[in-house]
């Protein structure tokens, strides 16, 4: 049996800056993972539906709009509703320090700000999958 790590990279909300999401998607691909990229302007409902159909191990959310405290907990709730409690959720983008702990308390495993080395993200995913 050959287990592959499957990751959904999604951009919830309305900001159109997907460079970061694409850099991460590419880095994870090069680390041997299967990355499902869904594109811009996703609602939490769309993201959770994709995570379910794709049976992913992790969901990465890229947000630069400031709406993370609304969008991220909603995604986590929907994942749980669908029975995907075990999916690792990580967030990238512009997240103020005071919100990082709040997001972690809601169930986010890791938050990666600007300047994060891609290797750090890859390691976090390997660790979560182990």
């Amino acid at each position: 049996m050959t287990k592959k790590i499957r990751v959904l990279i999604a951009k919830p909300g309305l900001d159109g800056h997907d460079r970061g999401a694409k850099v991460i998607a590419r880095a994870l691909r090069d680390a041997g993972m299967e990355v499902i990229y869904t594109g811009l302007r996703q609602t939490p409902e769309m993201i959770s539906a994709a995570a379910l159909q794709e049976d992913v191990d992790a969901v990465g959310l890229s947000i630069l709009s400031g709406a993370h405290m609304t969008l991220v907990p909603r995604v986590i709730d929907l994942l749980k509703e669908n029975g995907q409690d075990d999916v690792m959720v990580f967030v990238g983008g512009i997240i103020p320090a005071e919100d990082v702990e709040k997001l972690k308390a809601k169930g986010v495993r890791a938050v990666f700000g600007p300047g994060t080395a891609t290797a750090e993200v890859i390691d976090a995913l390997w660790e979560a999958a182990a």
Partner: protein, 322 residues
Amino acid sequence: MSELNTIAARVRSGDRLALARLITDIENGGGDYQHILDLLYPDTGSAHIIGVTGAPGSGKSTLVNCLARELKQGKSERAAKIGIIAVDPSSPFTGGALLGDRVRMQFHANDPEIFIRSMASRGALGGIANATDNVAMAMDAAGYDPILIETVGAGQSEVEIASLAHTTIVVEAPGLGDDVQAAKAGLLEIADILVVNKAEKPAAETTAAVLMRMLTLGEEVKGKRMGLNWQVPLVKTSAIDCGGVDELAAHIRAHYQFLHQSGAWDKCDLMRLSKRVNHLLRESLFADWQNQLDQQSYNDLMVQVMHHQISPHQAVQKLLNR
């Protein structure tokens, strides 16, 4: 055994998480997926499997997006659950993959009656993954019909989809070649329906004309070999705004009728299923042989092959005691 029965029952009843997890096991060769498929097999066989293939960037995903909506609207008598399998290539170096077909399939992101699964090709070279037929079988058992399979961006010889799909759609884009390209064997030959997408581009007329000449020039080999008389239609679509997709859907429905009326449906299934049986048989025979293999004598023979003392063919003869 009862646990397997429970999983099979959940898949049959339309539990999307159960289906998604079964597909993962099929892809990974994990769990007891083979036995679950055994249980599900009697519930399969009715779904219309439609293959969509063509060059990278020819607009397959966008077309599938339009097509799923169109097919769903036109379905009144049968259930309206549509399955989509979108295959993208795995890296030959890292095994990783970027599966980006969902980006173009946004109509259905919230539709509970459409199930989209992205698959990496995982080293298979025929345009689909080795597990694609089993994944289609799982979707069939879960009540999805039709099932649209989008291949990796195909070149000239990724023709595996033709032995899996009942209806194969080959998508061409304008400006990719002249009439000699159109006359070459391979991908174009497997089409039951030929599509020129991006019809809004000026070069589309020329491409359509060249392909039309190709179609009228020779006889339709694929159908003829099965004793059938199907005229491959050529449809111009503009998937960017779903233009022409209603006409494409009409041809798909016509082909479905044709397959049933002509008896080709059963021939198609016989070909596909015997291929699957042969594949499993090969795998199983090889595994049996490997289990009783004396590793030492295998290594010794490999040393001789490495030193060019015996040929690979002679080594196999020895291994099989011939």
